[in-house]
Symmetry: C2
Subunit: 215 residues, 2 copies
């Protein structure tokens, strides 16, 4: 949002997002499960991030992703495989995210879900908070970030909600050179106009840093 | 296709495509008409090509597009606004393409259509031939190209047919930093894997040259 609101108690922070997208415009493959959290083909999509032979462009993009943020917003399907009620399968009520004891966020993460859940405090400064809608998540993330950037960590639906709301300032898209054949599109928003301000490329992805334009 | 077929009378030429694509994956906006041939928003999509203040990256991409080819394949909706029978509106039977007397192709162009039409010879070496399906168009284009590259000029459906058939070697995608909200997707093909081999960028587009990989 990045506009100082006169009379507000806080300065609006930069709101960003970053994600890897296939040539057919999807952020994860179809049929996401606990075993294949990125869906069919989704791991290959993120090969630039995981491949052992890391290219400088991919390292720079990873550094960009891992840079400290004030707070995060995350869709529930990115937080975990639990759908519907938190106790929907054996052990699912104990789900604490994909990232082990110390998630890489080191900041408050506001998870979008219609199903209430107590906050989960992890090691290293990450606390998962569960909120009922995007607007509430954004307001709480901005407050928690205390002027530092707020980042929409994914997935596609959370990013799209941010773009639709017109609150996103910058997006790094890692265009992955493959198709998935199905999935959810973060850019299914009519009339969005952006400007590429930086591009770094490797054989595994073309990382484009877009500034979202305002009317 | 780019593989010399042993025993064939001709060497298989390189088969390429190039197109501009929105962030939501479309090559033209919705509601294409004779007045808005690129659909709603489609002209803005191609701004990198038409804008007067041309950036070196955009000029290089334009040069790539305008380089001589042996033959072209083109979808009928790219050739013109006529749908169904060639005499579907007043004067439509005289339609000779969007490009005036001397189209920029200077080579045979094989237009995909189920409606028979005599060839149209234009100035400057372009002749439009009308063929009933992609396979026939490809065979005739390869023969006419005599070893020079064959390029799928568009639109989305023609490109997708080429990708589905597995005959495309290289694609230049000009990623345009905007969304259209609807249209047809050239990459609606599952399991395609490519490699970006060159990237040139301007404020108006990120031009990525992809090599399509084979299994």
């Amino acid at each position: 949002m990045s506009t100082a609101r006169t009379g507000s108690l806080y300065v609006m922070p930069l709101v960003t997002a970053h994600f890897t997208m296939s040539l057919d415009g999807f952020m994860a493959g179809p049929d996401q499960t606990q075993e294949t959290p990125l869906g069919v083909g989704g791991e290959e999509l993120h090969r630039w991030m995981f491949d052992e032979a890391r290219h400088p462009a991919d390292l720079a993009a990873r550094d960009h992703i891992l840079a400290p943020r004030g707070a995060y917003i995350m869709g529930r399907n990115m937080f975990g495989p639990v759908r519907g009620d938190w106790a929907s399968f054996e052990g699912s009520e104990d789900w604490r995210g994909w990232w082990g004891d110390e998630p890489p966020y080191h900041a408050p993460v506001f998870v979008l879900t219609h199903y209430p859940h107590d906050p989960i405090e992890m090691e290293g400064g990450t606390t998962f908070h569960f909120v009922g809608g995007f607007d509430e998540a954004l307001a709480r993330a901005i407050e928690a970030a205390n002027g530092d950037p707020v980042t929409i960590a994914g997935g596609a639906s959370a990013v799209r909600q941010g773009l639709e709301a017109g609150v996103v300032d910058e997006v790094m898209v890692s265009h992955s050179p493959m198709t998935l054949g199905g999935g959810e599109s973060p850019f299914a928003v009519a009339g969005l106009v952006a400007e590429p301000v930086k591009v770094e490329t490797s054989p595994f992805a073309t990382h484009v840093y877009y500034r979202i334009k305002r009317d």
